[in-house]
Amino acid sequence: MPNTLFRTVKQTPLPGRTTALLFARGADLSRHAFWAVSLILLGTCSCADREGYPDDLAYPVRADLLVEESPKLTPNNLPPPGGLEKSISRLPELGGKVLDPARFPEANRTELAKLLEEQFGTPAQPRVGASNAELGDLVTKLKLDPTTLIQGSVSYRRNCLHCHGLAGDGKGSSGLWVSPAPRDFRQGRFKFISTSPAKNLNRPRREDIIRTLRMGLHGTSMPAFGIYPDQELEALASYVIHLSIRGEMEFTVLKTLLKANSQIANLFENYLPDEEVSKAQENLAYFVPKYLKEIVTQFNTAETQILTPPEYPYKESELEDSIKRGHRLFSSQASDALGCVSCHIDYGRQSPWQYDEWGSLNRPANLTLGIYKGGRRPVDLFWRLKRGIPPSKMPAVTLTGDEEAKKVWDLINFIEAMPYPAKLPEEVRNSVYGPTGRIASAANPH
């Protein structure tokens, strides 16, 4: 940078020391006052304006409630802005189940904190795995090496922290005041993924996270970071995966051990069924690295388990018929149709609120608006249909028979055309918008 004029101000410690000596002989009061000044000035000027976290900062151990089971209810409105935590604490009244980490024994908490720090480092020095050798390729293939993670941590602090929070809890300073709530990464769950459901892996591919970063989540407060360099987005994705693995480890341990009559043995039973463990090894120190390897392996597997869209079967002239078929699939309750309208009531305009896995409320998208949170490319819509949105209540669409490819594209064609009444075939338009045509909506930004 060409600014040499004031660089000196920043680099040389202010003429503090000699003056300080003079003052040291003076009254206590003046000395204190002086140190207050010089500490603030020196503290702020002479050290570099560091972009990352302070070195002595540690990830906090989870203290907020864990949602074990969300209520089945569909309440008629959202909690007030800022009221998410309170609303989670009220879930039991609505038939949900929550676990309070405050009941976690102090000794176990200390041990867990130590183990987590051992495996995952600190915000300034993040890592995955106590040593790289242990996880080897698994970590490098996922780009979870310390260099990338440190870059990601710096960028995360600047761009993500105020919503997603230090530990990825979605409770940063802005986090509680936006809805949908910013993703809480600490359960290892992501909404918009493109991995095949075959192996029941609810893991995102790195590409899914990068897509979300690049395009943002339209209709939520997640902005697009598309103008950021690819390299920075890669680093951010790595750091998000790091936070999510760390959080999931914590979540798993807390959730299992907080249940009544549960023991560490349950952890091994539930999460490492294939592992041979002796009674003596049934402790957290043994479990954590083993389970870490399990999670990282799953992430690696997910990278290869891509859900590939079938080839688009139609010509331009066939579009109208395809839309008609898609409309029927969407709105009919017949056995060979999908009946999407049973959740997307009135094509999403009157969708009910539903609890997701995190205990926050969302509702099936209003598809007449042309706002698609998980991306507006046809391939994104394909993934939403075929993969569902596992942590919320959107199921994966199962289509049988040879016609599957065609049916999927029929549905996508209809969904894509829905926001444009002029483009819909007449009977479809009448069905979606009624005979009067489209009603202008406030919430429609486009």
């Binding site: 761009n159 990068i210 697009a224 598309g226 490319r377 926001p419 444009y420 486009h446």
Partner: protein, 308 residues
């Protein structure tokens, strides 16, 4: 002692003036107006310099008199001050002289303001008895929200009377991208500004362009870029640096909540319509992708290898 006070006032004022002069004389510091890249930018800059010249004159005269008076008339000077209560001639003089300067500024401002803001208005809500605005080459709907910009590009030419309907309804062929404004050099661009939530302000420093978005309203703006900074290379399917390799940014200039500061966007000015349309085609094919494809960034620019 009175000399000290006089010098203090002189020093402070000279330091202020000096700082401005340094910023002006050394553009490499990056302390002055950013590049001027639209037709209205040089006009606004010229006005800025006109006002600066008149202000500098007034500044030097008034501060000079003050400093000299402090130097010359301390209480230690012998004798009483002359009990002068006023002078009508002087009063009239120093009323008329600044008035002349102010009228010059007003006169110079009016046409620039008219060309900067009336044109956009004209394109959508024609003003009676005035020349029609030239047809737009590009129409882009900018929707602000907390906290980014969504830009919807019309991909086929629009008739002026069809603009409002297009803004309301859109077409499936429209291209929607976040935070990236692509135009080409010389294009008459109509922006339609909207917001879904609070007031934002669409600010592009290099174009000297700023307009608040107002909830419930669609506000038209018109501009023409005169310098390009990228071109689209169809072979590499990427943007490469154009006439210069500046990064031009879009900012939000009206407080819109905690993350107001991070509504950053980028402006890409293509050298010609061909380059823009190649980009548009590429971006459309990306956004219409039905096959397995990585989301790609259209904005990370490769340095043009052919340039030094």
């Amino acid at each position: 002692m009175h000399r000290f006070w006089s010098l203090l006032f002189a020093a402070v004022n000279l330091a202020c003036l000096g700082m401005l002069l340094v910023a002006y004389a050394r553009p490499e510091l990056g302390w002055w107006l950013p590049e001027a890249a639209s037709t209205q930018a040089p006009k606004i800059d010229a006005l800025f310099y006109l006002i600066s010249a008149l202000c500098a004159l007034f500044f030097v005269i008034t501060q000079g008199i003050l400093v000299a008076a402090i130097w010359k008339f301390p209480s230690t000077k012998t004798g009483e001050a002359k009990p002068i209560h006023g002078n009508t001639g002087l009063e009239i003089g120093w009323t008329l002289a600044p008035l002349a300067g102010l009228l010059v500024i007003t006169g110079a401002s009016l046409p620039v303001w008219k060309s900067a803001k009336y044109q956009g208005l004209q394109a959508t809500f024609p003003i009676a008895n005035s020349d029609p605005a030239p047809a737009a080459d590009q129409v882009i709907l900018v929707t602000a929200r907390q906290w980014d910009w969504h830009l919807r590009y019309a991909t086929s030419p629009l008739q002026p009377e069809g603009v409002r309907e297009w803004a309301e309804d859109g077409t499936p062929a429209d291209l929607i991208v976040a935070d990236e404004l692509h135009v080409w050099k010389g294009a008459q661009v109509t922006l339609l500004l909207r917001t879904t939530d609070v007031i934002h302000s669409f600010f592009i420093p290099v174009l000297r362009l700023k307009q608040d978005t107002l909830p419930g309203k669609t506000i038209p703006l018109r501009f023409e870029a005169t310098v390009s900074n990228v071109r689209f290379d169809p072979a590499q399917r990427r943007l490469v640096t154009g006439e210069n390799d500046q990064t031009w940014e879009i900012a939000c200039a009206e407080l819109c909540g905690g993350n107001h500061y991070r509504m950053r966007g980028k402006l890409f000015v293509h050298p010609d319509r061909k380059s823009y349309e190649a980009w548009l085609k590429h971006a459309q094919s990306q956004s219409r992708s039905r096959t397995l494809s990585a989301s790609s960034s259209s904005s990370s620019i490769l340095k043009d290898a052919s340039k030094p």
